[in-house]
Amino acid sequence: MGHGKSPYLRYPEKEPFPISNRNSHYDHLFEEMYELEEKGEILVFRITEEYKPVEVFTRTGRIKLIPTNKLWHHKSCGQCGNIPGYPASIFWFMNKLGLDYLNEPHQTSCTAWNYHGSGTSNPVALAAVWLRNMHQAWKTGYYPLIHCGTSFGSYKETREQLIFNKELRDAVKPILKKLGRLTEDGRIVIPQEIVHYSEWVHAVRFQIKELYEKEGKPKGIDVSNVRVAIHNACHTYKMIADDYPYDPEVYNGQRPAASTAVMKALGAQVVDYSTWYDCCGFGFRHILTEREFTRSFAIQRKLKVISEEVKADVLITHDTGCTTTFEKNQWIGKAHGMYHPIAVMSDVMFAALACGAHPFKIVQLYWNCSNYEPLLEKMGITNWKELRKEWEDTVKYIAELEKQGKYDELMEFFKEYDLYEPYSKTSDGFKRRKSATADMPLFKS
């Protein structure tokens, strides 16, 4: 059913679940966005059929389109820098599902982690960074998929500010013009929907389930006995709360659906705990410079509660900061007799393991400080020690080749490397690029 004249604002005929907030201010955004497009001020980067959209509902019942194909990966600095198996698992699934995507170096972070932590930015700079990245995606024809929860939350908020405030548009437009980041006729490019990777996982969860049946189970993997606790990230569902999926099958639409729904689709045992609503304690600045707060909150309000109330095997997350906070702040609890070990990983990493991805080459669990080993055993990945040895040998081999300066052999090795080649596609092809840092990422020049 249409809702006003904007094609970007749609509701179903029947409410999909009980809705307590029917008059969302957020609806006006989609009406205003359409009007600005009609006036020629902005260009809406539309989700057309080539992106194979799937419909989900937000908490107000609005239909949100989630593109599932031909995606431009807006990576997360915390994930790539600290949890590389997180994005690797996303790419692995996209390869497995035969989807088209683009993963390229012409992207900055959203810079919002820094802003929330230090205040050293402003709305104009945040908007310029966001629109510059969106323009790059639009230029390539690939639809932006936002990996980080804070980027997602910040971009949703920035879009709202931009649509409703002419002064912000007027301030950011000259900067984009200087960067060559307007359309040829001088319009700002704004995506129809801002889409988080967890929404994508949610949208393709039944394909993931099929993959689990087809490839995970034959390897002896079984998640039906795994007790899974879910932590929803604040910046996905508390920031601009009316723009994140809810589903009748997840607590009758009364809690965020992403992550929980894919766990249910895989047949894992989702367990509930009393502090599900609390944040992780990341705090942006706190994780680095007020760590007593972060670890105290993470342990006392989440890890201890999950351990005592539901004895979960794994805590599933869908954001960078939460994953880091929970997996890095367990060991220190030993100092105060508050050690509550539990495996911590994102929904997509767990799903990749269930579908048979290599725990170290793909899911990169080596970087994880939590106790993931008992979880692997329980999932039926009993050969994890051999798989870990295999990965460690790979690292040693790479280190040795580099030490000897055998770069040609390294290049050959990477050509053979498991699933390496499909990840290399970028908008400028396979040519060597000039990096912003002195170290070339792959080889010394």
């Binding site: 810079t111 050293t120 104009v124 500010q161 569902y237 702040n329 367990q330 220190i332 080459k361 994880n368």
Partner: protein
């Protein structure tokens, strides 16, 4: 005035008392003039649901309800006092925002206050952000806020012995990451030079470099050295391409 009729139970600090009233009013007005202010503050029942669900409230003397109330009361003195350290306790989770029956956004008010504190180079802000310099250096020069080489075990002994293992053979481990642009060590992913150059333009045009200069002149100088070096490299590359 030391005491407050309700709520804010922290005595007004000496550093606030010393500041002329006009200056406190100026700061108050600067916060209120932000275009977001009217979108973040509507009214308040004093129900306290924001503070009850606030993670920072559990461990710090911090209350989002207080912030909302002080703005509604136009309590210039307390708001100025909050600008020193109080506002930096907020976790920026926005639980207060989703729970407020008035849809107030206390976390949003805090971010405006932080921005004003940075822009006006409050001494407490300079001190609080000193340990944060590595992140600022990284994000301003590369466009990434975090990279693998920042997580040195010496800085994070509380993260346990597995952190030690992670950092051994770091470069080789990064090379073993199975996607191309993720193999970088000094950045989270490989950020192309032209992308970084665009970002420097954004920082210049939006006053971020000036903001940093007032906050930490030494850090600013280090950042500008890298920025200028990269800009020179870029110009050389452009010239080479033209030739």
């Amino acid at each position: 005035m030391d005491g407050h009729p309700y709520g804010y139970n922290i005595p007004i600090s000496e550093k606030t008392k010393e500041v002329p009233w006009e200056e406190k009013v100026r700061i108050f007005e600067e916060i209120k003039s932000d275009f977001r202010f009217k979108e973040y503050l509507f009214g308040c029942l004093n129900c306290g649901v924001c503070t009850a669900s606030c993670p920072s409230n559990r461990f710090f003397d911090f209350s989002p309800r207080e912030i909302v109330q002080r703005f509604l009361e136009e309590d210039v003195e307390v708001i100025y006092d909050m600008m020193h350290e109080y506002i930096w306790a907020c976790s920026q989770c926005f639980t207060c925002w989703i729970r407020c029956p008035f849809v107030n956004n206390p976390g949003g008010l805090v971010i405006i206050m932080r921005e004003v504190a940075v822009r006006n180079a409050f001494e407490a802000t300079k001190d609080l952000l000193k340990p944060y310099g590595r992140v600022l250096l990284k994000v301003m020069t590369t466009g990434n806020q975090l990279s693998a080489d920042m997580l040195q075990p010496d800085f994070f002994p509380d993260w346990g012995p597995k952190m030690q293992d992670n950092m051994e053979n770091l470069r080789a481990k990064r090379m073993a990451i199975p996607f191309d642009v993720g193999k970088a060590v000094k950045t989270a992913w490989e950020v192309s030079l032209e992308t970084a150059i665009e970002m420097y333009t954004i920082w210049r045009e939006t006053g971020i470099f000036e903001m940093l200069e007032k906050l930490d002149p030494n850090l600013y100088n280090v950042i500008m050295d890298i920025v200028e070096e990269n800009e020179e490299r870029w110009e050389e590359l452009m010239e080479e391409e033209e030739e």
